[in-house]
Amino acid sequence: MTRNLDINVEHLTRVEGHGNIVVNMREGKLEKAQLEIVEAPRYFEAMLKGRSFHEAAIITSRICGICSLGHQITSLKATEQALGLTVSEQTVLLRKLLIHGATIQSNILHAYFLAAPDFLKVGSVFPLVSSHPDVVVRALRMKRLANDIGEVVGGRAVHPITPVPGGFTHIPAPDELKELKRRLVEDMTPDLLATVETLKTLAGEIPVFERDTEFISLRSDDDYALYDGDICSSDTGRVADSMYREMTNEFIVPHSTSKHCRHHRSSYFVGALARWNNNHDRLCDLALQAAGALGLEPGCCNPYMNTIAQVVEAAHCTVDSIRIIDELLERGLQQEEPDQEPTRFGTGVGATEVPRGILYHEYTYDRQGRLTAANCIIPTGQNLENIDDDMKKLVPEILDRSQEEITSYLEMLVRAYDPCISCSVHMLDVDFVE
């Protein structure tokens, strides 16, 4: 079939940050199929140079408000390793709880507010307020509770306040945690089941498209790895997080202010679907039931199913949050002061699973505790090459459709990755010259 096609979606909507989809086909030959990243660079490198370790996480979390908690926790882990700061078990538990809250919030926001309008063929969530009021109210209730975890533990859901190097500046009161638990049990759990039911009715709207892909995520022996673990590739297996540069191999492309990545193949996938594929054996029963009900299977190679994997993950995070709160209450909350006395000054790496995939921060500090080098590699940046590869395979497969339909498929594809463009652009990799 010979066809000419010019698709140019400027400032794609319902994604975080600014990107354009550009597809050119001349007489049946695909000349271009790519996600152009036009987010203005912000030059975080320049902001970090010579900054105190107290400020590193405050600044890097401003790379992205959507992923601020993920950046913050990853940054703290890198700083703590570089400076030899220790954290208590309570700190780890509270951080894991925060990550669960942020993951639920982000996944629910994506499923209901950004992806669902595509399934229901409307332009945004706002028409749904009158057409599906109960669904919108449910989505808001779930998001609020997820954000309340962030507010109670982190002081604020966006750009949390309390997590600092070595611990927390404020410890939540037992009553606040008990109330969160009550709502997780009484509200969130039934809301998740209802979400699964709603999604089941929309399953037919999810495009069928598969492309054999390398999936990279954290993996841990103890749990469904989000806070820490080894780096795991579905192609090549596990390595330590210090090997992250070998796993990412950043390179610059002209159509993107964000750098791209590759590992064992031309591209790889990070995010909820990668975590599902690599770690489904670590999920709790409720999550596995949800996956079963929604037809998500191990080894799934359909990127559109990432949204489903996010909902499955939200179920896991809910159940695990309840477990963590129980454990915290049983141990009794201690008014600990953060450990901020460095025992060494060197380089440290942090790797964390944030909603959009695996996130790396690496810092080097001088003897005054000031940053001399920093590197952050962001999930969306790692996915960009994979998105381009998907588009190159997808476009020829759907050429019989109208231009509007093709455009809509492509938009949905990019949205399925839940890309965080502003994050991907504001990565860091620099050795400061003093």
Partner: protein
């Protein structure tokens, strides 16, 4: 009551945390939708129409294209609200302005730096008239609600000008200085209900400097509490580089 105000949301260079914070009004969102028609919001919807009564704009201006877009938004909006530290005072992005822009670009993109044009990060007010500020990083939700209700009522919102210390003392928070930390609360505009000190953290100055700040005295305070002069100014610059660079010249 007259027709509902038409409201639009826009984002420039920033982290979009302010926009996310607007989506985080789960308890108020439905009430808010009663009072306005949201006509444009790229992060949440795909409709793209023309005129609006109120434009909420996040992010600072850092490319030639930004300047064009903000002028266009200003032309189409009756009331322009700058939302968050980046839009109001340049915010964290402004830190890059303290170094030569070419040096910064080269550091990040090396020989490929010419692929990506950039300007010093500017607050909206450096280019267009801003009618209302909602400050903070991320924007203070409390203040956003106040501004929102004021605009719906057709009145100019009141901008808080007193230092964070006032709100902190009203809440009887343990003073951050008492804990041996430093804090920018004494010269930072309140209106956040001293949110960070209420959670044990120091004020990083995200809501901008108070009017007519006594910076020499603030430097002395920071130095007295253990920072070097250099470090003191670095802390002050975090969110306020644009204003401080302006005061210098």
């Amino acid at each position: 009551m007259a027709a509902k105000p038409r409201v639009a949301f826009f984002d420039f260079t920033g982290c979009e945390g302010c926009e996310l914070n607007q989506l985080n009004f789960e308890n108020q969102l439905l009430d808010m939708l009663e009072h306005v028609d949201i006509v444009e919001w790229r992060e949440a919807m795909d409709d793209r129409p023309g005129e609006y009564d109120i434009a909420f704009v996040e992010g600072s201006l850092s490319t030639p294209d930004c300047i064009k877009r903000i002028n266009d938004i200003r032309r189409r909006a009756k009331v322009l609200v700058a939302v968050g530290a980046c839009a109001v005072q340049g915010g964290i992005n402004g830190m890059k302005n303290t170094r030569p822009i070419e040096e910064v670009r080269e550091e990040v993109y090396g020989k490929d730096k010419y692929l990506f044009p950039t300007l010093p990060a500017l607050p909206l007010s450096a280019v267009v008239k801003v009618d209302v500020n909602v400050r903070g990083c991320p924007m203070t939700q409390l203040e956003f609600l106040k501004v929102f209700t004021a605009l719906v009522m057709g009145k100019q919102p009141v901008e808080p000008n007193s230092a964070v210390c006032v709100e902190c003392k009203l809440k009887e928070n343990e003073c951050v200085y008492e804990k041996g930390m430093i804090c920018l609360g004494p010269v930072t505009r309140g209106g956040c209900d001293a949110h960070c000190p209420s959670f044990g953290q120091y004020c990083t100055g995200c809501r901008g400097l108070v009017p007519e700040p006594n910076l020499k005295a603030m430097e002395e305070i920071l130095v007295k509490h253990g920072l070097s002069v250099n470090e003191a100014w670095k802390r002050l610059h975090l969110y306020n580089s644009h204003e401080l660079e302006g005061l210098k010249s």
